[in-house]
Symmetry: C2
Subunit: 215 residues, 2 copies
């Protein structure tokens, strides 16, 4: 086992450190966040920082760097208060990665990356047609993280679109059956293989493996 101390971490070349530190948090979610501005011009970009905040109300967060390529996403969310989050699967993971390129404001990432839009009545932001689990959100709060000038964007889930067969009896969604991918580091994509679901943990009782339906 190698030990790297604070001085060694600080001394790393910047690109090396970016790869290294981005590997520490473990596997990351792979999602496309899609928006439209008030004129209806669309934007889509990949994010690996989407995180569950709570089920009641249904709140989802993600981290955004205001000075990075994602700025069109932020501007559009501020304008319309709406956005969609679309799980990336193994049929369009390379197109999803390509959305991280620095396209100009008037270039359409959907078109440039070979992705398609689909819409829901009442939601101004587009969904990614190719995604099999996607949802619309209403902006609740933008929380600044002062230590590195990033933002935690918090939204409430308003509409969910999902392949019906993936929703199990107890509400669990089998995202492995949707071929949802996961990210490690900055650029590595992975599919998953389930070990098992486990029973709710109680003190002094060994957790048991349970079926996909939670039984």
């Amino acid at each position: 086992m190698q030990h790297l101390d604070h001085q060694q971490i600080v001394a790393m070349p910047s690109r090396y450190r970016a790869q290294f530190i981005n590997s520490l948090s473990g596997f990351k979610s792979a999602n496309l966040i899609a928006t439209a501005n008030s004129m209806g011009q669309t934007n889509v970009a990949i994010f690996s920082s989407v995180v569950h905040l709570g089920a009641s109300p249904a709140l989802i967060g993600f981290i955004m760097r205001p000075d990075s390529v994602e700025r069109h996403t932020l501007e559009n969310i501020k304008q319309t208060q709406q956005y969609t989050i679309n799980q990336v699967n193994d049929r369009f993971w390379q197109a999803a990665h390509q959305t991280s390129a620095r396209y100009l404001r008037d270039e359409c990432e959907f078109e440039q990356c070979g992705l398609s839009t689909t819409y829901l009545k009442g939601v101004t932001a587009p969904f990614v047609k190719e995604s099999q689990l996607k949802y619309a959100l209403t902006l609740k709060e933008i929380l600044p993280i002062s230590h590195n000038n990033t933002l935690l964007i918090i939204g409430e889930v308003t509409d969910v679109i999902c392949k019906q067969s993936a929703i199990k009896n107890d509400g669990y969604i089998d995202i492995e059956s949707l071929n949802t991918v996961t990210i490690s580091g900055l650029d590595s994509y992975h599919i998953s293989h389930r070990l098992s679901r486990l029973t709710y943990a109680k003190p002094h009782v060994t957790p048991n493996k349970i079926s996909l339906n939670g039984e």
Copy 2:
């Protein structure tokens, strides 16, 4: 494809909604957060919300519910300003899940769940010996999320301990080779199978697959 609207989501029974909403963010990181109080009594609990915040400075966040079983973790972090994050792998994923049981304050989760501690000079919090990628953090900020009374705990990475062979030439850490697991929903554990690493995305250029070493 099934469409569930806001009314249908709000009307879900609470346990069903917890499973459902917890599936939306995609695959989650699986980490044990370990702490000690000022008397040296240890605590360890699993978290699926650890998220990368930035590489320079090296900041990692995680979401905590103050009223849940994780409260000993929070108290200890407030007392000592230190904690460790330890990636869960496929050799102790069931023991890691078991740490989510509501143990009493004076019960030792390490002992109860069959996990071992290891220490580093200068770090009061224990590391999980069984983990092959783990790091110590110093608390930087506790950011309240008012909408659901959760907290974003922000720490700076001070020391990293990692199996040397997993660190690649460009700083990427091959966490798949460490058998790091990922979580979906509340209780499903998965190992990964790499599709590929991809080149840095540039407009109008199709991304290429690259080797594990980033070449």
